[in-house]
């Protein structure tokens, strides 16, 4: 989930210790660069291993990186382990990125989203030394070439109906690793487990041939990790020897001791566990470039170490808090050089390391502990985009924990996000996950609930249901390109009722979902063959036991989750047609289609009528909310019938990250009055500025959707004015809103606080911001209806608290 980098909660700011403040500032101050080392080292290794099995090649390539990559220790940072040669620089993954790196190399410094500096010598080395090797070997080329022609054509349309780009240009990511296991065992133990499995393999059994290579790759990687950990120990020791500052010298010595032990051996205390965790987590981002490698239930798997260290006086609570904050800052050091298009879909170097707090345990009891509270403090003491923080909400959670989380959310940093245990657990049960593991779910990436031991591939694709409606209203022809890209579902002028239109829509959805799934099957197969992930695999018990790679079905739970984007635009468009064309008959289908063809040119009055006088999703109006539910049902039923290549199922999701903007670029005018190529509505929320009944009406509308059916998750982004969120009543109202939304069956909610810039835009373009509500005692109005002087006043006040 993309998160704005926001400043610290003013109330919490005064408690922030110097170290956190310093490290936080240093991370924010970086102008991100590209780091070539990984690309250089991977390529070097690939050149030497061409005759070997792919999984061994991957293991050796990773080992080569770990052995030779530059490492450094940032002064005053208590945790060791960096992803690239400089703080917050982006390593490259030519395995999937080579093609776009070559094509877009001169765009990185210029593009608006996620700018990255490429020093000239690196640019030359990339173009001359590294990228030529990858010609014809890059995953996107291989996957696309393997697809049926028609599928490839649809997947690569200029005016996209779905985007599968994320796993063409990047690896799978989206793992919830068994971090508890690797921290407790250490990599030496895992290595010896792999050796045991290997020893007991009957290699005359034809099913076992690939297992030989699998276990060998695990052993190669464990050895490399152990040596890599030691490098940090040696470096810390060297730095300590010449360090004049006594405090930092002592801290370096502790670091050297810790890194001498972990991650090779089991962690014995909180400090070692935090370091072992970070090494293990960081390695995910050195092995592969998939996003949303999520942390899981950090407060659960780390708590035993914390409790023990406190009990044995090895650490004070303050020291543990300081260490946690060091870790919090490290999450944002992870970088990825997205391609131009990807940067739009996952704006803000969005890595989505989702860390979950609270919730019930596997027995259904409240799982909140002291560390859960400390993690919230770490969040409010820092102001960075990662981790993507989630709080699981259930009826028996401690009220003070919930309130603390709400207070942080009220600062407007879009986190923590809140999840409804009841619905998430029920939805996992519906997929056949046993109750114990369903209760132990965490969030992968944005909103996707997954049980432990999962390869969720939960952000497989972003699909454009608004485009499906466009096709239903144009007999399968793309309004923008004039190409027939969907089935011929009839001339809409012949439709006599909503059922006719809905049938055409459903047919269009069925058609593109089938092509999307087909594309994804070939992409998954390409990953399994060309981009296996032996390091990921050793993080999961099941992969080790089966001797089967993560990308090939080794995880216990295997899902593929494509999202629907544009729900609110489709619902509002259907409602407008239902009302004006079929109920009132005040607008003819012919006239409407004509206006759509001309992007409302010369039909502004009709457009205004569609925008202002039709029922809008998000206002607790059953007329349109029922249509939204139907749309969700249609999408879910189409998606959930498919099986993936790893023995798992497809799970439908309704969320967009920032894909509602780029996908909107590929959709012509719509009957809700949306102009051609404008952004689509976000997640399961209403169309921007169409919710004028306030947040209870929004959440009621959204809760009418069947969230349990949307097994890959729904995302609701609710915005508030800073004026309101700075009051005690506002914060309480926010907490109660979350609770009530979840009572009604909502899945997820997060909050944006509207900043001064948005208010200024509302002054200029009131039509785009009709939804901004003002709440004062005994008074009713919307921001856009205020006198401009009063608006100025509110903007000034908002700016003062925005800082």
């Amino acid at each position: 989930m993309a998160i704005d980098v926001r400043l610290t909660d003013p109330e919490a700011a005064k408690d922030v210790i110097w170290r956190t403040r310093k490290l936080n500032e240093e991370v924010l101050a970086v102008n991100p660069e590209i780091c070539i080392e990984r690309a250089r080292l991977i390529t070097e290794s690939y050149r030497e291993t061409e005759t070997e099995p792919m999984i061994i090649r991957r293991a050796k390539a990773l080992a080569n990186v770990l052995e030779k990559m530059t490492i450094f220790i940032q002064k005053d940072q208590l945790i060791a382990g960096v992803q690239a040669s400089k703080l917050r620089s982006a390593p490259l993954f030519p395995e999937t990125e080579a093609n776009y790196l070559e094509k877009e190399i001169d765009l990185f410094e210029k593009r608006e989203q996620d700018r990255l500096i490429i020093p000239p010598n690196i640019r030359i080395e990339l173009l001359d030394e590294v990228l030529p090797y990858w010609k014809g070997k890059c995953l996107d080329e291989i996957a696309l070439a393997s697809m049926p022609e028609k599928t490839r054509e649809i997947a690569m349309l200029d005016e996209q109906i779905f985007s599968v780009g994320i796993h063409l240009s990047g690896s799978i990511g989206h793992i919830i690793a068994d971090y508890d296991r690797v921290i407790a065992k250490g990599y030496l133990e895992i290595r010896s487990e792999a050796e045991d499995y290997l020893r007991n393999l009957n290699l005359s059994d034809p099913d076992n041939t690939s297992k030989l290579h699998f276990y060998k790759s695990i052993i190669i990687i464990c050895d490399a990790i152990i040596r890599w950990g030691k490098r940090y120990s040696v470096l810390a020791r060297e730095l300590a020897a010449s360090e004049p500052d006594a405090r930092w010298k002592a801290e370096l010595e502790i670091m050297a001791d810790i890194c001498e032990r972990v991650p090779a051996l089991p962690a014995r205390n909180f400090r070692e566990a935090v370091q072992a965790f970070w090494f293990s987590h960081l390695l995910c981002f050195i092995e592969q470039n998939g996003l949303a490698v999520s942390v899981g239930r950090f407060d659960q798997f780390m708590f035993p170490y914390y409790r023990q260290s406190i009990a044995e006086d090895e650490i004070t609570k303050d020291e543990a808090q300081e260490l946690l904050e060091c870790l919090w800052i490290k999450f944002t050091e992870i970088m990825r050089a997205y391609d131009f298009e990807g940067a739009k879909y996952y704006a803000g170097f969005s890595i989505s390391e989702n860390l979950v707090l609270g919730g019930v345990d596997s027995q259904g009891r409240d799982a909140t502990n002291e560390l859960s509270f400390m993690c919230l403090d770490a969040e409010s003491h820092t102001s960075l985009s990662q981790p993507n923080l989630s709080v699981r909400v259930h009826n028996n959670m401690p009220e003070d924990f919930f309130r603390k989380a709400v207070r942080i959310a009220a600062t407007g940093r879009t986190k923590p996000e809140f999840f409804n245990d009841t619905v998430a657990i029920q939805s996992l049960l519906s997929l056949g996950v046993p109750l114990k593991e369903a209760r132990d779910y965490s969030i992968s990436g944005c909103v996707e609930a997954v049980p432990p031991h999962t390869n969720g591939m939960t952000n497989a694709s972003m699909s454009n249901i608004a485009k499906a409606l466009e096709l239903a209203l144009n007999n399968g022809v793309c309004r923008l390109s004039g190409k027939q890209i969907g089935p011929k579902t009839g001339d809409p002028k012949s439709f006599t009722c909503m059922e006719d239109l809905l049938y055409a829509f459903k047919t269009q959805v069925a058609s593109y979902v089938k092509e999307m799934v087909t594309a994804l099957q070939f992409i998954e197969k390409a990953h399994a063959q060309y981009y296996p992930l032996p390091y990921f695999s050793l993080l999961l018990d099941d992969c080790l036991e089966l001797g089967l790679d993560f990308t090939q079905g080794g995880a216990r739970y295997n899902y593929t989750g494509p999202q629907a984007v544009g729900l609110s635009d489709v619902a509002d468009s259907l409602a407008a047609i239902s009302k004006f064309v079929f109920d009132e008959k005040s607008v003819s289908m012919d006239f409407l289609l004509n206006a759509l063809d001309n992007d409302f040119e010369g039909a502004e009055e009709l457009r205004q009528q569609l925008v202002n006088k039709a029922p809008k999703y998000g206002n607790d109006d059953d007329y349109v909310d029922e249509l939204a539910s139907k749309v969700v049902l249609i999408y879910c039923e189409e998606v959930q019938q498919y099986k993936n290549t790893r023995g798992g199922v497809y799970r439908p999701g309704v969320y967009s990250v920032s894909a509602n903007v780029p996908l909107g670029l590929h959709v012509g005018a719509l009957p809700n009055g949306r102009k051609s190529r404008a952004a689509l509505g976000d997640g399961v929320g209403p169309v921007q500025a169409c919710d004028i009944m306030g947040p209870t009406a929004v959440t009621r509308s959204v809760a009418k959707l069947n969230h349990e059916l949307v097994t890959n998750g729904t995302l609701l982004n609710q915005k508030f004015s800073r004026d309101l969120m700075s009051t005690e009543e506002g914060k309480q109202g926010l907490g109660n809103l979350i609770r009530s939304y979840f009572d009604l069956g909502g899945w997820h909610i997060q909050f944006n606080v509207v900043d001064a810039e948005v208010l200024r835009d509302a002054q200029k373009k009131p039509q785009d911001h009709k939804d901004l509500i003002i709440r004062v005692a005994g008074y009713s109005a919307f921001f856009v209806e205020l006198d401009s002087k009063v608006q100025d006043d509110i903007i000034n006040r908002t700016e003062q608290t925005d800082f």
């Binding site: 009055e605 109202g733 709440r775 005994g778």
Partner: protein
């Protein structure tokens, strides 16, 4: 046959009009005429036409719908004579909502389902329904029936009132409410009359009589140039204490959020240059009540 009332807004997720998350029903019509009123559309008991220039695209549909009678388009937007123009026709014809009718006649039966929409939110927050206005007790029979229905449904209810209605209908109107938000604009009868058009005799009588009977929150608007003085708040504190009142006191500082609505109603906002009271002043006045043991909040 249920009672009907004229309402001008149903505002959900209201957080400052009684406990918890509330739905506020705004009733149209008020016996007072406060210069600072932030809901000027609430004063007139009849339906009115409002016009927001910022929403208008000058399409002329309104003029067409009324065949130009009493309405025309100028450089400054739509100009109309509210005594001549057919307000229903032109508001219906307006595609943008720039022209909008305020005030709708609704029966209790029609309103109750709307008020019940947010029951899950009331339950979680200890909220409910607040009747506001305007002056709800002007529509006493409607008000009474609505409150009785809410009571039967177990929904917490509050009434915001200026208290200006003869005791009998006033009492009948508010009797079934759980909480009264009682406004006291000024303690001095002449001063009261000078800015709101009527003196405060009935108001103070009703207040005194209601205190022993109902849970009340006293709400004091703080209006610079009118009542924002030490003297006034001392007198207010004396009166409140004298009544035997033990509840909460809320100070509502002046704001000009309503000024845009005066324009939309083609009225002049007379308090353009008024600055809101300072936080320091507000705290000092709040202290007058707090020091007497009354819980006091500044909104």
């Amino acid at each position: 046959m249920t009672q009907s009332g004229i309402i001008f807004n149903t505002q959900r997720f209201s957080l400052h009009d009684g406990p918890g998350t509330r739905t506020v029903l705004f009733l149209k019509g008020c016996p007072l005429d406060c210069l600072w009123c932030s809901n000027p559309e609430s004063k007139n008991p009849d339906m009115e036409l409002m016009y927001y220039r910022s929403k208008c695209i000058l399409c002329g549909q309104c003029v067409k719908s009324c065949e130009g009678l009493g309405i025309s388009i100028t450089e400054d937007g739509v100009l109309f004579d509210r005594n001549i123009v057919d307000i229903r026709k032109c508001a219906k014809a307006c595609p943008t909502g720039a022209l909008e009718i305020v005030g709708q006649k609704k029966s209790v039966d029609e309103i109750i389902p709307v008020l019940l929409r947010d029951v899950p939110y009331f339950r979680r927050s200890g909220g409910g329904v607040t009747l506001s206005g305007g002056e709800p007790t002007m529509q006493a029979a409607f008000c009474r029936e609505l409150l009785l229905r809410l009571k039967a449904l177990g929904i917490h209810s509050a009434v915001e009132t200026c208290g200006h209605r003869t005791w009998e209908p006033f009492h009948r109107a508010v009797e079934a409410a759980n909480l009264i938000l009682f406004d006291l604009k000024h303690i001095n009868p002449e001063k009261h009359s000078s800015a709101v058009g009527v003196d405060n005799e009935v108001i103070i009588y009703n207040f005194m009589k209601l205190v022993p009977e109902k849970k009340i929150i006293v709400r004091l608007p703080v209006i610079p140039g009118y009542n924002a003085t030490d003297e006034h708040f001392r007198a207010a504190a004396a009166l409140v204490l004298n009544s035997g009142f033990k509840g909460e006191v809320h100070l509502l500082p002046y704001h000009s959020y309503g000024s845009g609505k005066y324009k939309a109603l083609q009225q002049v906002y007379q308090m353009e240059d008024t600055e809101p009271p300072t936080e320091k002043q507000l705290k000092a006045w709040a202290y007058l009540f707090e020091s007497e043991g009354l819980v006091t909040k500044i909104h």
